[in-house]
Symmetry: C2
Subunit: 303 residues, 2 copies
Amino acid sequence: MPTKPLYGAIEAGGTKIVCAAGYGPTEIPEGCRAVIPTAAPGPTLAAMAEFFTQITAKCGALAAIGIASFGPVDVDRRSTTWGRILATPKPGWSDTSMVAPLERFGCPIAIDTDVNAAALAEARLGAGAGLGSLAYVTVGTGIGGGVVVADRTIKGLLHPEMGHIRVQRDLRDVDFPGICPFHGDCLEGLASGPAVLARWQSHAENLPEGHPGREILGDYLGQLAATIALLISCERIVFGGGVASGGRLLPYIRRSASHWLGGYLPVEARAGGFDRYITAPGLGDFAGAAGAFLLAMQAGQLC
Amino acid sequence: MPTKPLYGAIEAGGTKIVCAAGYGPTEIPEGCRAVIPTAAPGPTLAAMAEFFTQITAKCGALAAIGIASFGPVDVDRRSTTWGRILATPKPGWSDTSMVAPLERFGCPIAIDTDVNAAALAEARLGAGAGLGSLAYVTVGTGIGGGVVVADRTIKGLLHPEMGHIRVQRDLRDVDFPGICPFHGDCLEGLASGPAVLARWQSHAENLPEGHPGREILGDYLGQLAATIALLISCERIVFGGGVASGGRLLPYIRRSASHWLGGYLPVEARAGGFDRYITAPGLGDFAGAAGAFLLAMQAGQLC
């Protein structure tokens, strides 16, 4: 009798690495999940591999492993540095392979960015369930975005890095130079958590009702939404992360996107209006790990 | 003995509709090509259907038909208005079905935008041959863009409409309000052929060496290239169309894209530098028709 395939899933973030094994995103047996603090790569990756060694001893071989990783990471399978973290300010992590410690398990491995994985999970199981295409934007310490088209995440030269687009400045905000070390006042330099703190000495979620910061942040993020709609034409755009959390900025983001699109795209006719087009995540914090499972399941079918 | 499948290809533009039949983009038998002026939809589409009736009488049944159409067009197969031209200023064409007159041929039909089809052709046979992802931008009467990822064009809410993104204005150009009826000074409102003519009473290709217009247009188009790289991360970006023609603007576009990216993406390491990343088309005017053949061949295999 065939047994159900067991998948490994890894969500590698800047502060912690969540490892899990299960038969799918919502079928994780008792004791098949561990959280490892993101320390130096050597011990961190050793702990990750050790978790899966224990899992396979207990539950049998893994059918595939999916990794949803912080970036920048080489996700091009044809590249000689596939699976490696690229130049990063995280001490010791530049050029570290996320996949090498897992090769001992002899199963297909898929790796993608955390936000691409989250986009995949939201497209399949969350806010975009039933839609073929979706963009997932997270607004927190940085601003990142992932994209799913036809049930696959997109990548190529690298992977989407949409936090670094430029935006039209709000006239009330022109004195703030932005904090992006590369671009100064790109979107991430203006609307990420640290940019909000630098400008208004407050977390975005604590800006009071009526504070112009809400409108300004919503405007900048809405410009990203409009740009996504024009370039990628996806069927839904999801905003998650601490700065966008709780949906407090969503009304401002929608209003801004609608303003900048100027009636050009059929958002009303084909997406049911901006309230349905631009939404909060459906899976909350679970999107990354769920996406890692889906990546594993895709890899298991492909190989 | 099995015969080679015969495909129909249609490139529907604002002034003419090119119809062809063949065994592939470069295998079009003598007499299997016709150019129909784009007049009122009734007689135009009747002439198109008549062409294929004659072809099938002479050469046998078509295996599939691919249409590379002007937009906006509904390219969502699940939609009840699939294959129809959406609201357009072209007299009589709004809500006209491009596919209905072809259903009598009883074969699969694929329809996509002209620029998505051109992107597909460039990715397979032209400037991006061997690459999995490519964006194709045409700069002429309007500015349009198509995208291929993993050998498929992208679509969703609608299709890419990237000509309408906003750009940072050049300080020498702030007095020009732009000509886009929706947005005024979006990219198309600033850098399309009519915008160039309105501003400098000259076609872009006739702007003399040293005219600031070259730098300004290159800057605006380079901002689109940078935005494409950040959002879609495709492996090559191709600029075609009258305004970009002959590659005269390419050095300015590359310089601008490099400036706005600020060293953030691995264009040197992974794409061989901006000279290879941002290029002229490889197929010239043939990209649209070639793409229509490729769409037909994809449809023939899928159905």
